[in-house]
């Protein structure tokens, strides 16, 4: 549904986005990650046709956003960053206006407004003017505007920004549900959100894509991924550590804490963590160590994120 080919944007000498390409199909929720100023919003603004790209192309459902902007814009809903809305209008007036601009009229428009109001829990403030609303309500009003025409493509720039934890949860559930039938791109700073909602994630840094994969794939890139954490009921650190290091397939062993004794065993190169886990549990049985915990690390997204987007090696080491 969404195809982005080699999008570039420069503001004078400053390169905001340099050569971003990806595709999003129906049924996919793409998480767009990156530090502040990485080019997330600029990329989204180019895809939605708000700012023209310096080079490259974005197509929505086959329509190029630069050549056939009206057709492309019809297919998508967009929640801009900071969720702007006309302060002097009521929620109902604003949503009716959005529906009318989307070409809905009469009873179809009323139905669309009612549906969006229900989905975004806006019944209580329907006839209040937008400027009197709290940030959460304003945000949901603008979100309601983006889904009013039940678009096939949804582009959301930080949809959970400024919401309380309950509202965040609602919005995430909503995005996941809508993601079954739509192509969705959403940007966020919150990494747990990506794990909870996305089928795929892209990390963008200084205008280029530095990682692209499912959340699980990305987590596997973490230094911790595949390491095995062992927690024992008793024993002293030194001999246990040396026994673990001597195991076949074990690499570095890191001491995490003394009381209770917990260690992290990294698999050696080209050996699987599964074999290592088996070897560790066999060793524990053989030595009659009390095994309190044994688990394989999945890796952590925040660590991957920091490892990729922090340029200096010191920070990289700290993350590892």
């Amino acid at each position: 549904m969404i195809q982005v080919r080699n999008l570039k944007k420069t503001f004078g000498p400053k390169v905001a986005v340099s050569g971003v390409s990806f595709t999003v199909e129906k049924g996919e929720v793409l998480g767009f990650l990156g530090p502040n100023g990485a080019g997330k919003s600029t990329t989204m603004r180019m895809i939605t046709g708000f700012i023209p790209p310096t080079d490259g192309e974005a197509t929505i459902g086959g329509y190029s956003i630069t050549e056939h902007p009206i057709e492309a814009k019809r297919l998508m809903g967009y929640l801009p960053e900071n969720a702007p809305s006309y302060a002097d209008m009521t929620v109902h007036g604003f949503l009716s206006f959005a529906a009318e601009l989307r070409g809905l009229s009469g009873s179809a428009r009323q139905k669309a407004v009612a549906r969006a109001v229900e989905t975004c829990f806006l019944e209580n403030v329907l006839h209040q003017s937008v400027e009197t609303l709290s940030k959460g309500y304003r945000h949901r009003t603008c979100f309601a505007q983006s889904i009013i025409h039940d678009p096939e493509v949804l582009i959301l720039d930080e949809p959970t920004d400024g919401l309380d934890p309950n509202q965040k949860h609602e919005v995430r559930t909503l995005i996941r549900k809508m993601g079954e039938k739509k192509a969705i791109i959403f940007s966020t700073h919150i990494l747990e959100e990506v794990e909870a909602v996305c089928s795929r994630a892209i990390i963008i840094d200084r205008g280029t894509i530095v990682a692209n994969g499912t959340p699980a794939e990305l987590k596997r890139r973490s230094a911790q991924a595949g390491a095995i954490t062992v927690r024992l009921g008793e024993g002293s650190s030194k001999p246990v550590q040396s026994r673990l290091e001597a195991l076949k397939g074990a690499g570095r062993v890191q001491l995490l804490g003394e009381q209770p004794l917990s260690l992290r065993v990294f698999p050696a190169k080209q050996s699987s963590s599964e074999d290592l886990a088996k070897a560790i549990s066999a060793l524990c049985a053989q030595e009659r160590w009390q095994l309190l915990e044994l688990h394989t690390e999945e890796g952590r997204l925040d660590e991957v994120f920091r490892g990729i987007t922090l340029p200096d090696t010191k920070a990289n080491k700290a993350a590892a």
Partner: protein, 244 residues
């Protein structure tokens, strides 16, 4: 055409939800009444015409029309709703036209509400209503020209005060180019053709010509071309510095 109407309707609700439209209409009515009756001596002249009433319009509009139009684009820019509007399935031209027509309608409504003046002259004497009608058309066209200029300056900035001041200055230039004290000054050292050329750029020249009761195609063309040019420039500005 439908998006134009939708946008114009939204703008109109915006004008009437905030006090902008009411303040403009009330102040316009008060000032036009004050100047034509008290300052210009409408009654003392003993003429059944609205000449004194229309003569003040270029000057009243100079401050009041930019006040109506200054929010047109700068407010969208400040609130960030420009991003919303331009990612809707509407072309920038539809948005520009919708906004312009809405603000023009506000000014038009203020003009319509001056009808007691028209009733007064008709009660007191027998004026040439054709001339009065032409005067209203000319006044509306002039307001349109000022508004289009305000739309242009409003698109340049997110600051309404800057938009207001710049459009007052540009409109003032359009007045002064044909204002007798200025043209008299020019006559002393410039060729008459040049003086005429400069005066031809002025709203006053064309407004006064329409007020004689003849809607000349040249005057019509002048106002329409000022409107089209300013709105076209608005379009260029909106399209080129959208993200600013």
């Amino acid at each position: 055409m439908k998006p134009v109407i939708t946008i114009a309707k939204r703008e109109l609700t915006g004008y009437f939800a905030s006090p902008v439209a009411f303040v403009f209409i009330v102040i316009f009515l008060l000032l036009s009444g004050f100047f034509s009756f008290m300052v210009s001596g409408f009654f003392e002249r003993g003429q059944a015409s609205l000449e004194t009433f229309f003569a003040w319009h270029p000057w009243l509009y100079l401050f009041l029309v930019p006040a109506v139009g200054m929010r047109m684009w700068s407010e969208e820019r400040r609130l960030g709703t420009l991003e919303l509007l331009l990612t809707m399935p509407v072309t920038p031209w539809q948005a520009i036209l919708g906004k312009f027509l809405a603000s023009w309608a506000v000014v038009g409504l203020a003009l319509v509400l001056t009808f007691p003046v028209w009733i007064t002259v008709n009660y007191l004497g027998s004026p040439d209503n054709g001339v009065i009608f032409a005067g209203y058309i000319g006044s509306l066209l002039m307001a349109g020209a000022y508004l289009a200029i305000t739309a242009m300056t409003s698109a340049m900035t997110r600051n309404q005060v800057v938009a207001f001041i710049v459009s007052v200055v540009l409109s003032l230039f359009l007045i002064l180019a044909g204002f007798p004290p200025v043209t008299n000054l020019l006559v002393h050292w410039a060729a008459p053709a040049l003086v005429d050329a400069v005066a031809a750029f002025s709203v006053i020249t064309h407004f006064e010509s329409i007020q004689k009761g003849v809607i000349d195609s040249r005057d019509l063309l002048y106002f329409l071309s000022v409107i089209v040019f300013a709105l076209f420039t608005t379009g260029v500005i909106v399209r080129t510095h959208r993200a600013g």
